[in-house]
């Protein structure tokens, strides 16, 4: 009796979870995409916001520089074929509680146009200051580049760098500074590849309006 009941339950549980997954999988992916696209504008330079740019989505894997073994989303925004901005959905793997998902906008000349946090589990009241709804800390990255400040100063002030750390959340601050830096490094090394790949994808009809 017990065995039959347990087996029946296990089967029922399996189908319940399977059905829930089938039902929610697409919706969750769509939610995630919608949130990222809505935020693309927030990391573009003000002159580009709201402009009708062609957005090409690329999936790029670089565990070392983009922070994830999985492919991350890279959006290349072009205006009649001319690259205007690149937005990386980079992961900062060493957040205090978990990896931090970031959105980093980079201008074609390699300067940061904006950084925003997409998803994080940092401590409330301390590390959550990376959210621009809580503090302006993220804005310090605007118009920074690998040459300004010089590469060796891409660290928080405790590590003799030139970026402010959030008080009480040095680990969080370090994680974000390192992620922005490595994203810029990736961009510097692979910029032309990215643009070529985007042009190729767009030509195949992979371009989509945000």
């Amino acid at each position: 009796m017990t065995t039959v009941a347990a087996a029946a339950l296990a089967v029922a549980a399996f189908f319940a979870v399977h059905a829930a997954y089938d039902w929610s999988d697409e919706r969750i992916a769509a939610n995630e995409r919608a949130r990222v696209v809505a935020r693309l504008n927030s990391v573009l330079e003000p002159a580009l916001r709201g402009r009708d740019l062609t957005t090409t989505l690329l999936a790029i894997t670089d565990a070392e520089l983009l922070g994830s073994e999985e492919p991350v989303d890279v959006f290349v925004l072009t205006d009649r074929g001319a690259p205007m901005a690149t937005v990386f959905a980079t992961v900062a793997p060493h957040g205090y509680n978990a990896a931090i998902d970031l959105l980093i906008g980079v201008a074609p000349i390699g300067t940061v146009t904006g950084v925003r946090v997409v998803r994080h589990r940092e401590t409330k009241g301390l590390g959550d200051a990376i959210d621009t709804a809580k503090s302006d800390w993220m804005l310090q990255f605007d118009s920074k580049a690998l040459t300004a400040p010089p590469l060796e100063l891409w660290a928080v002030d405790q590590d003799k760098g030139s970026f402010d750390a959030i008080s009480g959340a040095t680990v969080t601050s370090r994680a974000v500074v390192a992620a922005v830096k490595s994203t810029l490094l990736y961009f510097e090394r692979h910029r032309d590849e990215l643009y070529a790949l985007a042009a190729e994808t767009a030509a195949r009809g992979g371009a989509n309006e945000p």
Partner: protein
Amino acid sequence: MTSSTSSLREAIAPLWRDNMALAQFLGLCPLLAVTTTVVNGFALGLASAVVIVIASTAMALLKHALKPAARLPIALLILAALVTVVDLFSEAVFYDLHGKLGIFIPLIVVNSGLLAHAENVASRRSVGFTFLSALATGLGFLLVFLALGACREIVGHGTLFSDIELLAGEGYRGTTLELPVGGMLVAILPPGAFFAMGLLLALRNRFTTKPRSDESSSGTPR
């Protein structure tokens, strides 16, 4: 007649007198962790309540089919499946809120209060009693979530119902109440959870120190 009245009274006792969090001190981990705002508290409280009602009722239905030794693993199986469904549903429908609650939705599986109820009440009592008692337990737990969430949000953020649009839809954006108090960061940090919980316990004890039999008169000092 008398016995059914007392049985009804026993079934709804978890609402307040035998409250899971305030009297049995069960399920405190998620309670203390997520109640930084009313909306967060409500969401997790509701998820827990839904899970406990379904899981306990299912366990009561199965009580004759299961050997005592099999009850706990089966309870865990039911809880795990239910919570996974709730987790996926909330991520699909309340995406941003789900992001805020993070690991605490999956952790409902091992909520000690839910396990205790599924194991103790459901294995001994009738289906009807279990259903009612689970409902009372869930609602009682939800009330504590709301109370703690409200206290901590008012004192810590100086707001009430912040992020309500994540739960109720975009139409409710901007209905957050801004109160002329608050800003005590400690209230939304983990220590603040313990202070608020302590005050809530003190309040409960103030009104339930009299013997259980004369509940009606114990409320009079108010």
